[in-house]
Symmetry: C2
Subunit: 671 residues, 2 copies
Amino acid sequence: MDRDSLVAAVARQGALVRELKKNGGAAKDITAAVVILNDLKAQLNALAVEAVGPVLNKKALEDLLVRKMFVVPSFEIYGGVAGFYDFGPPGAALKGNLLNAWRRHFLMEDDVLEIECTNIMPEVVLKTSGHVDRFTDLMAKCTKSGECYRADKLVEDFIENLLAKNGSTMSSEQQEKHRLVATKAESLSPEEMHAVIQEYGILSPGHGAPLSFPMPFNLMFKCHIGPEGSHVGYLRPETAQGIFLNFRRLLEYNAGKIPFGCAQIGNAFRNEIAPRNGLVRVREFQQAEIEWFVHPEDKSHAKFDLVGDQLLTLFPKNLQLTTGKTIQLSVREAVKQKIIANESLAYYLARTSSFVKSIGIDMERVRFRQHLDTEMAHYACDCWDLEILLSSGWVECAGHADRSCYDLQVHAAKSKVEMVGTLKYDAPRAVELVNIKLNKGKIGKSFKSDMAIVNKGLEALSVDGKAALSFEAALAATGSATLKVDGREFLFTRDMWSATKVTKMMSEEKFMPSVIEPSFGVGRILTAVFEHTFYTREGDEKRGVMSFPPIIAPIKVAILPLSTAKEFTPVMQQLERELRSMGIQTKSDASSVAIGRKYARVDELGVPFGVTIDFETGTDKCVTVRERDSCAQMRIPLAKISSILKSLIEGTLTWKELSKTYPILEAKKEE
Amino acid sequence: MDRDSLVAAVARQGALVRELKKNGGAAKDITAAVVILNDLKAQLNALAVEAVGPVLNKKALEDLLVRKMFVVPSFEIYGGVAGFYDFGPPGAALKGNLLNAWRRHFLMEDDVLEIECTNIMPEVVLKTSGHVDRFTDLMAKCTKSGECYRADKLVEDFIENLLAKNGSTMSSEQQEKHRLVATKAESLSPEEMHAVIQEYGILSPGHGAPLSFPMPFNLMFKCHIGPEGSHVGYLRPETAQGIFLNFRRLLEYNAGKIPFGCAQIGNAFRNEIAPRNGLVRVREFQQAEIEWFVHPEDKSHAKFDLVGDQLLTLFPKNLQLTTGKTIQLSVREAVKQKIIANESLAYYLARTSSFVKSIGIDMERVRFRQHLDTEMAHYACDCWDLEILLSSGWVECAGHADRSCYDLQVHAAKSKVEMVGTLKYDAPRAVELVNIKLNKGKIGKSFKSDMAIVNKGLEALSVDGKAALSFEAALAATGSATLKVDGREFLFTRDMWSATKVTKMMSEEKFMPSVIEPSFGVGRILTAVFEHTFYTREGDEKRGVMSFPPIIAPIKVAILPLSTAKEFTPVMQQLERELRSMGIQTKSDASSVAIGRKYARVDELGVPFGVTIDFETGTDKCVTVRERDSCAQMRIPLAKISSILKSLIEGTLTWKELSKTYPILEAKKEE
């Protein structure tokens, strides 16, 4: 099948699977349909990786990343621990620059507040948010040793072994069948997983013993706060919760005005059963999240017009279920056609698009994929993932969810702290309210020792106008009505309680805001930057280059004396001082290696500009500047070099513009 | 007693206590001496807080910090958890600016590398570093309920209650005696603590039950990595360890050159039994640490001359034990007189001094206190704390330790990974080595099944030249010698083994570097900034001002239209755009409140400059700029305001210089 047919087939088969699940189809039918779906997906993925973008020499990139200390395994001298990575000097600087660019792009632009909350959170927070109960993966235990395995990985490994051993004796259909079971393993329910394990007779790899029924395993790291051991805490699985907890103070800080946004950049922790794929699935990682609070019935955005004409590559849910093709639409058009739910969500898709472009992501390998109704989190009402095509396929690198008011609601209910905004009307409005009258004496006499529970029921009526009016209707009709509280019933008579509808002129209303959440996985974005900017020079495949845009490059300027001659030292030091005083990161290499090798070293670090000091510098007071990707060189006066470099780095001057003043030198072979 | 006599008395008494402890004095003598010491210390502390600096309105400051969201209790809506704080928008920005200033000051200046390691570390790392065994506080358990208490706090609280209840029936000597026991509680050994608890009959506050013998409680948060629950991890108690683990790669990244430094800014976690004193003792905090690796026999610093003349307020150990007074000395002189152990350590004291000055710390309330031999960590060979005088007394805000090669040594030994630098000699040098010859056949025949253990003994001889030569001497003298390994003995004869001294010309040597460690507690430094920069205006004590230097101020410029008049909006927006494009943080207040109140609001946020747009702006194209601390105002043309503000903020232009061009306006009363 060609790509388009494959895309459409995946979409149709996906719809079929969801249909079967929704309508309670037989397990075997669902399994069969999922098998086909996953095969189609695997074919499509293989095709996608091949089809788009230059071929990535992944081994060379991974070697460079470790060798140059961009990213190294943590605790390496002790053999490392899966899912933990350290950022070495260029990696940490790149990440810092990326986050500062993110701050300028998203926070400064829209007056978004930034806060910093703790990594450890007490259980009540994450119980309320739902993470204690629902943040899980499937795990199977060895019934002999108690060792734990991620169930889907067990299935995959078992089948891989099976094929390696006995594949030659199988028909190609048999082989294909097994392969498909492996592919679908990740998406199974506990029951389905158990069935597969039984069918294949998969035993624990360590002891050859039977496996337990697969159970959900909570991915949060648990710890204990204080010495007693009774106060349970967790390392936060996302940074968002800290913002919700602080909502009331943040609103006050923002002088009560809504819409407004608050962001947090920080660590999140997930105790993955089987970490994999470098920075894509790790146990400790960084998030950068914004919570943009809006009125639930007015999700317009003041700056929408500024992004309205921007084109986005969208993969809306209806196209995933039909043509399977993405479309290019302007932001304005996407909202107008109700493809994107509202202006605020659309605004952030646009801003994310221009952000990833600015940090060097190839926009041909970017799409925004809308969540299908069946895959959306329980709290969300619309959700779009930024997906970037990496060597491992399309990877979600940021999410954009309309979380409605889920989080504020659950925290307000649990903590009894009001979390509402105030909308002041331009002119007073007539609002219908329910006015309740109680005969406290009569009620007290009737229910005596049950008053606590009765009061709970009355409180519920007092906040639910509809319920109050229907209770009133019952009382009015028969003279008595039953109040049900926690499974118990209390008989009320007409004289105890009454409710009347009243119309009141109000000058403001209270509302619980909805929240639009752009959420970035920093490690995944970095992985995309690494893969999309890395290349090797034609004819010299050993020379890797990281083609970082200057804005995020960890080092902006390399200062490279042609040799170890002492006369170069003062020029080098002067240049270092000048550039540093401008806040520009430099790296000097005064070693005795050939200039070509010096260039190769700084190319690997992604340094956009190199300045060579040579024997003519003493006479002509000029240096040679080399642009990393073109290798083109210019001769520029020492007196002007710092300010020119600053402009090049800040993007206020392009290399091409500069070449009009300082012509590009004849090509020299770098060696 | 006056301050000087008190200081000297503390020093003498401290020396006495240490003497007693060292020489195994009787417990009651030690306790008595400690009681007196702590009384003296308490008197001195009280005096110090009164004597230096302006009186701090601590209540007003604390109110402002929470109200303006600099620092708020974490999980506040759920009642909070002791020892956890969140940084709100101005607090997070202030901290970010402070850390960036730290980076520029310490890292950029000296090409110090920066890395970022994980917060979770496996047990082996912290077992090897000594934290699993030694990172503890004393805790007593209720023998009935199992509840845990920090033992010194129990004693303090018990005595406080005792005095509140029965104080009036006691003589003043009795009262004083009790009070002193409370004061000394923190410094007791488990045995001493037990004795005090028994003496007073202190019971558990919760159940009135006897308390357990006080036990050391490890302050690290424990968690489990992976699903089995068997792989123990800890949240790091300091950021330094990650640097040591990466030493080999860092050295390679630095092209094998030593000295060099590596830094890490990040979270550290300590499960305090009784957190207190705001950000001073918390359970989750930030550190900024540098490890500067040097040759153990050459701790000179290339930039020492640049700081040589800088004056430091030093409190060396000999003065703590004699006059009790600090001295002012130049860095050069302090090294020359061997008060500070070496140039690298002295260089960092000087750099720290100029750093804290640049962020607004009152240098009259800063001193560098040297650790006494008795209080120094086991690994350190010289250590100086940056102490800042806060409302709670002198608080350690940064440490500067020469950790020698302790950490590299223990990790190298445990991981079997070589952690050494190479010193290339200018010319080859004669070096004495020991050459060993083995008769493997004879040895094997003699010890057969014991060869594994014998080989272990031989390996030890091969790396210890002295031991090898003394074994050789024994063999030479009697024809046989006994090799002891793990408590067993093996008889060697002359024909099995021999060693000879040889002289070899070497062109380089391997060495394990020493490390100089400046380590900053970010929360404590921030507390010092808050306390030293906060003041209230004379005659208007309600108006708090945070007098942050522009370099760290969270917001640099307030844009304040005089009223809500629409004509001000375009000017305000234009100014916002201009300043933001320069990377300058602004805050606008277009509300209808009076200008005096607007100023008061931004004073509380520590905004150094306010720009007022008024009705004349339309005509004269000028705005009024106000300097926060003097409240002085100037009228400056709109066309020049942005670049002037940028210069003021970056410190390239002073307010005074500017007043020569734009005269200060006649004082207006702010209301």
